[in-house]
């Protein structure tokens, strides 16, 4: 408070005239600007560096997966017995391990030279036990794993949300029955359902998808139901109902937008679970089988030759871990962004 005047009595009298422009509207103005929920959350999400990096990385991976349907370094299924077990050779790089040379019994050997590989043929990540290009198989494997992941997400959004919403909105006996059914269904470990599916239907994408169709959406259904029940009692829903809106209109107009954050988060968490399951099953030989490539089968192949060609395991291992880490970080970031009360 700067005193322009030496003391109060010096302030001229006309300063004490009533303030003209204080109209009712101006007095009613709410002082602070308000942000819409999505903008607010997006701003918070952007600040989370880990989540942002993950999103970028994931976007890149997905992009590559799609692009390589059309353009692939090599044919992932093409076997070439002459070129088996070649280490990576990146043209231009002369670091041991990436230049076609590798340690064999303590000595550095140029395996490309050994196999008479022409100098314009480079396998950026080497070849596997059947002479197939690891990099191309990696792209194919990632693609299939991501495909499975998105199918899982699809089931989540459709079956999971629908089930939870219906159960929550209808309430009463229907809700009870639906919940009991859910409890029984989840009483069978996911794994067991998957195994049963795999045993009944031959191992392959169909059985994995079938198993996910039966089990993967259950957590989503539970969460959606819980949120629906919570929101159903909120006053604005009651207000909608007294105004005569039908239950389903309310569900779509009011409830779904408000639980959309929860749905997105749950979906983000369920995707890595699905990827893991496929990888896991393929790893123990129950999922996909060669020549199909998924991250799981790549891991399985790599494991078989782990002792002397460890990179065949590390490459898919790092890839799958990276993808799962990205999804998890994004999901964590989304959760923090949507519910700021959780952070300090």
């Amino acid at each position: 408070m700067e005193m322009k005047y030496p003391s109060i009595v010096d302030i001229p009298a006309d300063e004490f005239q009533p303030l003209q422009k204080n109209t009712e509207e101006e007095r009613e103005e709410i002082a602070a600007p308000s942000l819409n929920f999505l903008q607010d959350s997006w701003r918070r999400l952007k600040k989370n560096k880990a989540a942002v990096i993950s999103m970028v990385l994931l976007a890149v991976i997905i992009l590559i997966s799609i692009v390589t349907i059309f353009v692939s370094p090599q044919d992932p299924s093409k076997q070439n017995v002459d070129y088996i077990n070649l280490p990576p050779r990146v043209p231009g790089l002369n670091i041991d391990g990436l230049n076609g040379k590798t340690m064999v019994a303590g000595e550095l050997v140029d395996k490309y030279a050994q196999a008479d590989v022409p100098s314009n043929v480079n396998y950026l990540l080497g070849t596997d036990g059947l002479g197939r290009d690891v990099l191309s198989r990696l792209f194919m494997g990632t693609r299939i794993s991501l495909l499975i992941a998105f199918i899982a997400a699809l089931f989540d959004i459709t079956i999971g949300v629908a089930y939870g919403l219906i159960s929550g909105m209808l309430g009463g006996r229907v809700d009870n029955a639906m919940q009991r059914f859910l409890e029984i269904l989840s009483g069978i470990p996911n794994l067991v359902v998957m195994i049963l599916m795999l045993v009944v239907f031959e191992p392959g994408i169909f059985s994995i998808v079938a198993a996910m169709a039966i089990t993967n959406w259950i957590p989503m259904a539970r969460i959606v139901r819980a949120q629906t029940l919570k929101l159903k009692d909120q006053e604005y829903v009651l207000a909608g109902m007294t105004l005569g809106e039908s239950k389903w209109k309310i569900a779509f107009k009011h409830i779904i937008p408000n639980i959309s954050s929860v749905i997105i988060i749950q979906m983000m968490f369920s995707i890595p679970t699905a990827i893991f399951f496929e990888a896991f099953l393929s790893f123990i030989g129950l999922g996909l089988t060669p020549p199909a490539a998924s991250l799981g089968t790549l891991l399985n192949d790599g494991y078989k030759t782990f002792l002397y060609l460890p990179y065949l395991l590390w490459i898919p291992a790092v890839t799958i871990s990276l993808i799962m880490i990205c999804f998890n970080l994004i999901a964590d970031g989304l959760r923090d962004a949507f519910d700021p009360k959780m952070k300090e």
Binding site: P189, F280, F283, M324, I325
Partner: protein
């Protein structure tokens, strides 16, 4: 106490119903399976197959088979393994429960304990380097598939450093790596869960009141924070059990541990249907049992549920 007993019986009844349903579904699924349990069935003549069927009881109508199946189940008779022609499934599995159980218990105890510690540190020192570090551990534990982790452990400790055995189950040292591999999942999940719960608890009104009493942050964390966070943690035990069962399949395989998981995989490879069914039912039973125990314990441990008939005035 009356309402608690009712709750108890309701849950037990429910468990029995669930198990019955699972057994039934499993039975009928198995009926759908192609092929017969006999090796080299292509070389057998139809008459021989019919005769063998009669022997094994596969010629009876489905309903009757079902009845026999159920009554056998209740007596603990799971039939004869297709893979090991002379051995009853029950005895085959009985010998393997020990290692699996030990591995599972070690993993869950170790995993949840460390997870609770990490989660608590995270919550108390939010956004500090300790929080970041333990969150990182939790994320890695959740993201890196446990079989990758298992192989990694083998590589580092058994192959390179050579301080622990690479496989098999012949003494306590042999259990260390498999336990670590299997514990990652419970560890990551409980760390994340405890962190979330604790942060919420630490922001609650009663914690603010505790601070106003002059209690230190750690006193508050232990006396008020932990108890209120651990109770909901119990609800995690069911899914954790599932994760352990799943994980055991692969961990037992990698470390050549003679447990149920390892057998299960072999049975699937050899289409040993009785054993597959038996393990399915066994796992389901264990899961349902764990869920039951959790439900009952929860009612006992949370005073709001235990004493809901308490005097109110």
């Amino acid at each position: 106490m009356g309402s608690y007993l009712k709750y108890f019986f309701k849950r037990v009844f429910f468990m029995v119903v669930t198990l019955w349903l699972i057994a039934t579904i499993t039975f009928f699924l198995m009926q759908l399976l192609p092929g017969t349990p006999y090796t080299n069935q292509e070389r057998l003549s139809p008459e021989t197959i019919a005769m063998l069927n009669k022997q094994v009881g596969l010629d009876k109508p489905v309903i009757v088979q079902y009845g026999i199946y159920l009554s056998n189940l209740v007596q603990g008779n799971f039939g004869i393994s297709f893979q090991f022609k002379n051995q009853a499934v029950a005895s085959l599995l009985a010998g393997r429960i020990g290692p699996s159980l030990q591995l599972g218990l070690q993993a869950i105890i170790f995993g949840t304990f460390i997870g609770i510690v990490l989660g608590t540190i995270s919550a108390m020192k939010q956004n500090s380097w300790a929080d970041t570090a333990s969150t990182l551990v939790a994320i890695l534990g959740r993201s890196i598939p446990n079989f990758v982790f298992a192989v990694l452990l083998q590589y580092i400790f058994a192959m390179k450093l050579r301080i622990l055995p690479i496989a098999k189950w012949e003494g306590f040292a042999y259990t260390i790596l498999p336990t670590l591999a299997l514990a990652m999942s419970p560890l990551a999940d409980s760390a994340r869960f405890i962190r979330t719960e604790m942060v919420e608890v630490l922001h609650s009104d009663y914690v603010e009141l505790a601070r106003a009493k002059g209690l230190s942050r750690w006193e508050i964390a232990f006396r008020h924070g932990l108890r209120n966070s651990l109770i909901p943690l119990m609800t995690l035990l069911g899914p954790l059990a599932v994760a352990l069962m799943t994980g055991s399949l692969v961990v037992e395989n990698i470390f050549a541990i003679p447990g149920i998981g390892e057998q299960f995989v072999k049975s699937i490879m050899t289409n040993d249907y009785p054993t597959i069914m038996a393990v399915t039912i066994l796992y389901s039973f264990m899961l349902v049992f764990v869920i039951l125990v959790v439900d009952l314990l929860y009612g006992l441990v949370d005073p709001r549920i235990r004493l809901s008939e308490g005097s109110k005035s």
